[in-house]
């Protein structure tokens, strides 16, 4: 069957090339459907309990997606007529942002005050009113003593202020909506900065973050993919010294990427931060197939075979190993389907498809291209063979030292594995070169962090929020929350009610306390609500039947662990102090704080299944249960050692890293397969003892393993340069794991084989699964 296939491919190369090109073009045409979904919610599956809780809170109150304009006046003082005028005009312009439903700033803050029996509600900074120094001082005084504004909208020193725009994205066209908002927001930013030299405006908020997911990934692909192609071309030219081979490999890679991404498009997948990393990964993985076919072919040609015969031999020899390694790699990536986070399922499926396509292309299109292009072989010195031979010598000589030594190193590294801490701080998903990260860091340093928790406290009865007991608890909780070291700001209805109570008593400071009567507080709220303007109402804090209040806490940026601890403390507070009310805590940060935990748990199932499947395949391929079991060690140890080493490098494991073990499993298996199959070949067919078999294995695949590992490590190190930390960390740890795998295969596996296998003089095919030909 496959013989016939190879023969006909080599007989009609031009036909094969044309036919494949047509197929690739058809598949790649799907790429036009491939659009980027800029929404952090894509990271959560529909069943994610934190997402469900959050969405339901958004439906009860209003959505809280936002853009923050951070306004930094050159003279370090917000309270000047010029800057207040700018903020006022910016507030007006911000209403023009698509899907905006609310704009909050110091100028449109609804300031209430009393004059005898009159209650006055007006903008804190009235438009078109001359501001003299006393007026400016008064505005400053009110701003920094108003708990709703301080640290949220204006800094205590009064040097930075924020115009906050709440947007309600309809979600009908998730691809277009965020860019639409961002385009308008940037237009406003540019316009104000151009008109006011020295003024600085930075952009933060959830919408800007969503947008950065898309921008940062797309920029990555514009730089990383070409960089990776460069690495592949240089490596191949340098190590294999073939122009036609390199060109053909590049064609195979391009065809694999284009088809895989195109198929993803036909399949209706969206691009997301993680799945946008697929091209780099496919690129890296597709190289190996071609390298194996080329090196055997060149070896045969150097032995004096003519091109066609050499190519046919190479295909014959390599077909099974590269199919096996492709399948195991694909299984590893397919294990990502167990991920709780849909973008990683997409990434796994796209790369798995890409790897299998690369396999198909490298046994069809690749030989066809090599037939058409001229291939010459230069005589080469044997220095590389010497290099592998001396390594083999070193390993066999020092095996008594290497086995315990490597074991100690492996165990030591693995011991660090549990020390890693889970952390998903989505602000830090972006490195400091990303403007969103810079703006958010600046906001954190000068005002407040971006971490928000929304806490809905349900009284259980209609209008129950006016109950004095409820208000007392709400007030006590707000006070308690403000005292927490992480807290930057608390937005709570209890502040509004205290202020209204004071206003209702002719601004008498002694009445700055919560109303002690249910009717009183209900009537204050009625009064207040009737005098608020469009968009500044209380509907984002109260539900329709006034049975619950939503309180919003803003905190300094913290790790997932700290956030989960804070969540626990909040829940405990309610348990001990207000068990009569039902409190629910949600928020995007909290969703991310829980996702790694969930994802790792779900990935463990996937990894276990992949491991079983891969081990089964290996057992069949090696025709030995015993060696299938031995191979478990070099297959499993690298990922565990990689994570142990990660603790020494960074120590924070997030969403991106939670899929690395599954992903690398399929890749590191390849090295073991190649090494073990050559070792067994020597033992079974050459009557070699363990030591000689190790030398043979080094001699025949040592170089190919080194070259493919080099390409893989380079490829994933290129991905590690991503400004999107999820992808960067994933790339880096994968590179580390693959490198460790090679070291284990070279320095640990051979001494282990010699130890376990060495006392038997000749190997019989025990427990054989397959049958020798």
């Amino acid at each position: 069957m496959k013989e016939k296939l190879f023969a006909s491919v080599l007989r009609h190369p031009i036909l094969v090339v044309l036919f494949t090109i047509v197929l690739v073009v058809l598949a790649a045409a799907g790429a036009k459907n491939l659009v980027f979904k800029s929404d952090y919610r894509v990271f959560f599956s529909d069943e994610n309990p934190q997402l469900i809780a959050y969405e339901s809170m958004q439906n009860i109150y209003n959505k809280s997606d936002n853009v923050s304009f951070i306004v930094v006046p050159a003279d370090g003082n917000v309270f000047t007529p010029e800057t207040l005028d700018i903020v006022g005009r910016m507030t007006t312009d911000a209403w023009q942002v698509p899907y905006s439903t609310r704009v909050d700033s110091i100028t449109n803050f609804q300031y209430t005050w009393a004059e005898e029996d009159d209650m006055i509600v007006e903008d804190l900074v009235m438009e078109g009113v001359e501001l003299d120094q006393p007026a400016l001082d008064r505005i400053r005084q009110i701003s920094i003593s108003e708990p709703q504004l301080l640290n949220k909208i204006v800094s205590e020193q009064g040097h930075v202020t924020i115009v906050n725009v709440t947007v309600q994205l309809p979600g009908i066209d998730p691809v277009a909506e965020v860019p639409e908002v961002v385009a308008k927001v940037r237009e406003i930013q540019q316009q104000f900065m151009a008109e006011n030299p020295g003024l600085e405006i930075k952009l933060s908020g959830i919408v800007m973050m969503n947008n950065s997911f898309a921008e940062s990934s797309l920029e990555d692909n514009a730089t990383l993919v070409p960089a990776m192609f460069g690495v592949v071309i240089i490596t191949m030219l340098f190590l294999l010294r073939t122009f036609s081979g390199t060109l053909s490999t590049v064609v195979i890679i391009a065809a694999s990427i284009a088809s895989a991404m195109g198929l993803a498009g036909w399949g209706g997948l969206y691009l997301t931060g993680p799945s946008a990393g697929a091209p780099t990964m496919i690129l890296t993985l597709a190289v190996a197939d071609c390298v194996h076919i080329l090196s055997t072919m060149f070896y045969e040609m150097r032995q004096g075979e003519e091109k066609k015969k050499a190519l046919l031999d190479s295909l014959r020899i390599n077909f099974q190993p590269i199919m096996l390694t492709s399948v195991t790699t694909a299984i590893g990536f397919l294990s990502m389907n167990f991920s709780d986070s849909p973008p990683f399922r997409d990434l796994g499926n796209i790369v798995a498809a890409g790897v299998m396509l690369a396999f198909v292309f490298s046994v069809t299109l690749f030989p066809a291209l090599l037939m058409i292009l001229p291939v010459r072989v230069k005589v080469r010195t044997e220095e590389d063979r010497d290099w592998t031979r001396s390594l083999a010598g070193f390993v066999t000589d020092k095996r008594k030292l290497l086995l315990p030594g490597m074991s100690v190193i492996m165990i030591a590294l693995i011991a660090f594995l549990p020390q890693n801490r889970l952390n998903d701080d989505f602000v830090k998903y972006f490195d400091t070169s990303v403007p969103f990260r810079q703006a958010t860091d600046f906001m954190q340093d000068n005002l407040s962090g971006m971490t928000q928790l929304e806490i809905s406290i349900n009284s259980g009865e209609s209008s129950g929020i006016n109950d004095p007991n409820y208000l007392m608890k709400l007030g006590a909780f707000s006070d308690w929350l403000r005292e927490q070291p992480e807290t930057d700001h608390v937005n709570t209805l209890s502040d509004t009610l205290m202020r209204l109570n004071k206003n209702m008593h002719a601004d008498d400071e002694t009445y700055y306390r919560l109303p002690e009567d249910r009717e009183l507080s209900a009537q204050y709220l009625l009064l207040y609500e009737m005098s608020l303007p469009y968009g500044l109402d209380l509907n984002n804090q109260l539900n329709v039947d006034k049975s619950s209040v939503r309180l919003i806490g803003t905190f300094r940026n913290m790790t997932s662990n700290e956030l989960v601890k804070l969540e626990e403390r909040i829940n405990n507070w309610f348990k001990t102090n207000a068990s009569e009310y039902n409190a629910q805590v949600t928020g995007p940060n909290l969703m991310f704080a829980h996702i790694s935990q969930r994802n790792i748990q779900s990935m463990l199932t996937g990894i276990a299944l992949a491991l079983v499947l891969i081990s089964l395949l290996l057992g069949i391929a090696l025709r030995s249960v015993r060696f299938g079991l031995i191979s478990l060690i070099p297959n499993l140890a690298p990922a565990m050692m990689g994570f142990g080493m990660w603790y020494l490098i960074d120590g924070q494991v997030g969403l991106g890293l939670s899929v690395v073990a599954g992903m690398t499993l399929g890749i590191v298996v390849d090295d073991t397969v190649h090494f073990l199959s050559k070792y067994l070949h020597a033992r079974r067919h050459r009557n070699a003892d363990a030591e000689a078999a190790v030398r043979y294995a080094f001699g025949s695949v040592g170089r190919a393993l080194w070259v493919t590992t080099f390409v893989l490590v380079c490829g994933f190190m290129v991905l590690a340069q991503s400004s999107f930390k999820l992808n960067a960390d994933m790339g880096f740890l994968t590179a580390v794991t693959i490198l460790i795998a090679l070291i284990v295969d070279f320095l640990f596996l051979p001494p282990l084989l010699m130890k376990l296998d060495g006392n038997k003089e000749k190997i019989t095919v025990e427990n054989s699964v397959g049958v020798e030909k």
């Binding site: 007006e122 009717e519 507080s521 009537q523 469009y534 329709v544």
Partner: protein, 262 residues
């Protein structure tokens, strides 16, 4: 494609109307508004019961009950007095408002829990009325001077043919850039209003149904349904017990009458 149709209709409307009246769309819109106002003049005073049903996207519901009295004013906005019955904790709260076509309204609120009348000085009429999807400005009396007008086209509607008119609020504190009003040819009753927010995107749609005629002249709808397209919330406003010319006068609409209102 979609652009061509309204333009065609507009052109047809202009071509049909221009030879007869030589009128601009602005003049035509104003004329329709004047006619509508004219037909609704002279009702004197009235009272009615209002029931509001609020719904959010999650399906939660809440009810408000209000009794309303109004007194027609010549050459000024109407005077109105609202007494809140539900929710229970605002029962007896009464709201007196003298609306003016231009500028801030005069407003007083009686808070029974405080036993005091408070004057509210606020230019804001665009906020939600009792947390509903109705803004205060949606409920206050219609006055010619509050808007500028532009006739768009005639269109088939529930009541046969309707005028479709753009109304642009004059008050810069309004929450809207414009309202689009559908009003029937026969009786000048409003059937539908679309509200466009400050960035001119569709915010809310209000529909009217169950029109009844009082005193053989004045049409009032039994049901007004407001849907907010941006936040998915809605409010139904049900009217009942309409009574006209019950003998109310200015002395029923002052600060003292507020306290007695319950």
């Amino acid at each position: 494609m979609n652009m061509i149709k309204p333009i065609n209709l507009l052109l047809t409307a202009v071509l049909l109307s221009s030879p007869v009246m030589a009128q601009t769309p602005e003049e035509r819109g104003l004329e329709i508004a004047k006619e509508a106002k004219q037909r609704d003049l002279g009702w004197g005073d009235m009272q009615a019961d209002m029931l509001m049903v609020l719904r959010n996207k999650q399906g939660e519901e809440s009810v408000r009950e209000i009794r309303l009295k109004s007194l027609e004013q010549e050459n000024d906005g109407d005077k109105s007095l609202s007494v809140f019955d539900k929710p229970r904790d605002v029962k007896g709260t009464a709201f007196l408002s003298f609306s003016h076509p231009v500028g801030a309204d005069d407003q007083w609120l009686y808070l029974p829990a405080l036993k005091r009348v408070k004057r509210i000085a606020s230019r804001n009429k665009s906020g939600p009325f009792m947390g509903s999807e109705f803004a205060f400005e949606d409920l206050s009396s219609f006055e010619i001077e509050k808007y500028s007008y532009k006739f768009i086209q005639d269109e088939a509607c529930e009541a046969g043919q309707c005028f479709v008119v753009d109304q642009y609020p004059v008050d810069k504190n309004s929450g809207y850039t414009r309202r689009v009003v559908w009003m029937d040819h026969e009786e000048y009753r409003i059937w539908k209003v679309e509200f466009y927010d400050r960035k001119n995107s569709l915010l809310k749609t209000l529909t009217f149904s169950g029109y009844q005629q009082y005193l053989d002249k004045y049409w009032r709808a039994d049901l007004q349904q407001m849907t907010n397209h941006q936040n998915g919330k809605s409010t139904d406003l049900k009217w009942g017990n309409y009574q006209f010319r019950v003998g109310l006068s200015d002395k029923d609409f002052n600060k003292n009458s507020l306290k007695r209102a319950r």
